[in-house]
């Protein structure tokens, strides 16, 4: 079979491969190279070594500030989203009436695009702050908590679905046996449910973590980084560096490479943890 299939490479693989090369492979390799050069157009570039990487930190503190803001945001969202999502999943696997309807509604915000989400919440948050004479760009705190609320609204439903799947995978006998042994609801939750859904907890933690680090659309729409770039996250800061500062394309690309390394490291840690968990089981 392999033999007769082999000559069909141009039909089965080539179209995808060409698209993949144009959209991803070539830009990726070029991007890596260009991060070590000074350029304004892609074809005219001059090798400068690590200068761009140094400049990303020394010209101003925007990149570092964006990193700290993003990290703070990521920690707060990971905790809140996972606690709420797990709580909801726990309630929705108790056989309550209307479970399907609740699940449908909680998941719905996940389908709405980031730009649209940003403007929906801008309207609501500004509507509330208006009564006190503020708006969301008045203080970085407003933007921060606005983003946290938005992210919670968007991702709780998604993570809830994953937790429900995890909880439903727990064998019923296990809980029954615990009940016969006289365990109460809280003990069952702590000693059985939570340990058994650890794989889901790992997946959801990393999904929320990488999603928080890569957040762009919501950030752009809700605050646009205002006031004074104080609410710019990493992806938005990279975007501004590329498109709002002439002569800083190389620095932007260097920031993008560091951003890539950061996200890739997170993904690899996740892979390590899930793999080792699989072996244990």
């Amino acid at each position: 079979m392999q033999k007769s299939m082999k000559k069909y490479f141009p039909i089965f693989v080539l179209p995808t491969l060409i698209a993949f090369a144009i959209a991803f492979l070539i830009p990726f390799v070029m991007g890596f190279y260009l991060s070590f050069t000074k350029f304004t157009t892609v074809t005219d570039s001059k090798w400068v070594g690590f200068e761009n990487y140094i400049k990303a930190f020394t010209v101003n503190t925007e990149f570092l500030d964006a990193f700290l803001f993003t990290a703070k945001f990521a920690v707060v969202s990971v905790v809140t989203i996972n606690v709420f999502a797990f709580g909801l999943a726990f309630l929705l696997t108790k056989g309550l009436k209307g479970t399907n309807l609740f699940r449908t509604v909680f998941f719905m915000p996940n389908l709405i695009g980031g730009i649209v989400l940003g403007y929906i919440w801008q309207l609501i948050i500004n509507g509330v702050l208006f009564k006190f004479g503020y708006d969301i760009t008045f203080d970085a705190k407003f933007g921060f908590w606005g983003l946290v609320i938005l992210m919670n609204w968007q991702l709780i439903g998604y993570m809830m679905i994953l937790y429900i799947a995890g909880i439903q995978n727990i064998p019923g006998e296990l809980i029954e046996a615990a009940k016969i042994d006289g365990a109460n609801g809280r003990q069952i939750l702590r000693k059985i449910t939570i340990p058994m859904v650890m794989p889901s907890i790992t997946i959801c933690t990393f999904l929320t973590l990488t999603n928080s680090f890569k957040l762009f659309d919501q950030n752009l729409a809700l605050t646009g980084g205002m006031p004074a770039k104080q609410t710019s996250m990493l992806a938005l800061d990279i975007y501004w560096t590329f498109y709002n500062r002439v002569g800083f394309e190389g620095v932007g690309q260097a920031k993008a490479v560091m951003f890539f390394v950061l996200v890739a490291v997170l993904a690899l840690i996740q892979l390590r943890i899930t793999r080792s968990k699989e072996v244990e089981q």
Binding site: Q2, S4, M5, Y8, F9, F12, V13, T16, L17, A19, F20, A21, I22, A23, F24, I26, F28, M30, G31, L88, L91, K94, G95, L96, K97, G98, R103, F106, F107, M108, L111, I112, G113, I115, V116, I120, L123, I124, G127, W153, I161, L162, A165, I175, E176, I180, F216, D217, L220, A221, L234, A235, I238, Y239, F242, G252, Q253, A256, F259, A264
Partner: protein, 293 residues
């Protein structure tokens, strides 16, 4: 004996509901309140889309009654002034054809690289998987320059780009499923004289249907809502809905909040209808995707 009885009792309890009646009532009430809170933002946008544009930013929570109510004026204005109609058209065009191309092409590729084992196909597989962890910012600048040079800055060209970016996750998902289906049927088909193309479309693709649905759904949600990629690749005359929303904010000194609300509604409604019709597949697809991890 008494132990057995106890067990049966517990079983009955598990089947009905694990909670006592007061706990059930509290739980349901809590979830109902939460449901209303979750729907509140969407309801606010819907209500404001029929309010006069000067009443939106200052009093977003007021009901559209009396002189505040303007009917469909915002939609009419939005369609006339901001090219919302064209944006909707392009969004539909790009989403539908990108998703069709992604499903067709990546399923073919996944089948080939799973069945034909060579150094090349193994490396290709790893490259597709690798592309999944690379954030868009890493390639956005160089990619948009290349697409400009190749004149791909139109709705047809962007489909090619979406196939390229969607291929990582899609090939990975298809390949994972293909590995689990026995090769015997395909071999039998080929022995009976089917070409690989016939084998793929008559034998393999029908089996892949559930995975194809999952891949189609994930990509539909992504392409329909995507903002940054089309805003970098497409020229303004081919704006999609997210681009139109963002440009409304960017270009005007004071934003026409009425048109803005109408646009948000037009952006939300199709994807919500899509969700409500394919809900079963969407939730199943997401749950199964995570189990694979």
């Amino acid at each position: 004996m008494s132990r057995l009885n106890k067990k049966i009792k517990i079983n009955a309890n598990v089947n009905n509901c694990e909670l006592s009646k007061p706990a059930r009532v509290t739980g349901t009430t809590f979830l109902t309140i939460l449901t209303i809170l979750f729907l509140f933002p969407i309801a606010i946008v819907l209500l404001n889309s029929v309010k006069g544009k000067f009443y939106i930013a200052s009093t977003p929570f007021a009901l559209p009654t009396g002189e505040i109510f303007v009917g469909i004026t915002n939609y009419v204005e939005g369609f006339r002034k901001t090219g919302l109609l064209q944006a909707t058209g392009w969004s539909f065009f790009i989403t539908i054809f990108s998703v069709l191309c992604i499903v067709l092409l990546t399923s073919m590729t996944a089948w080939y690289i799973t069945r034909v084992k060579s150094k090349l196909t193994t490396n290709l597989y790893y490259m597709f998987v690798f592309s999944m962890i690379v954030p868009f910012q890493m390639v956005m600048f160089t990619m948009s320059k290349i697409t400009n040079m190749l004149h791909l800055d139109n709705p047809i060209g962007i489909i090619l780009i979406y196939v390229g970016f969607g291929s990582g996750l899609s090939v990975f998902t298809f390949a994972g499923f293909i590995k689990s289906i026995p090769i015997a049927m395909e071999e039998a088909a080929m022995m009976d004289g089917c070409s690989p193309i016939q084998t793929f479309f008559y034998v393999v693709f029908p089996i892949l249907r559930p995975t194809a649905i999952t891949v189609a759904i994930l990509n539909t949600m992504w392409v329909w809502n995507d903002y940054l990629l089309p805003s970098l690749v497409l020229s303004n005359k081919y704006s999609t809905i997210p681009m139109a929303v963002q440009s409304l904010k960017g270009s005007y000194g004071s934003i026409d909040m009425g048109a803005m609300m109408a646009m948000l509604v037009v952006a939300i409604v199709p994807i919500v209808i899509f969700y409500l019709t394919c809900q079963k597949y969407i939730i199943k697809g997401i749950a199964s995707g995570a189990v694979k991890g």
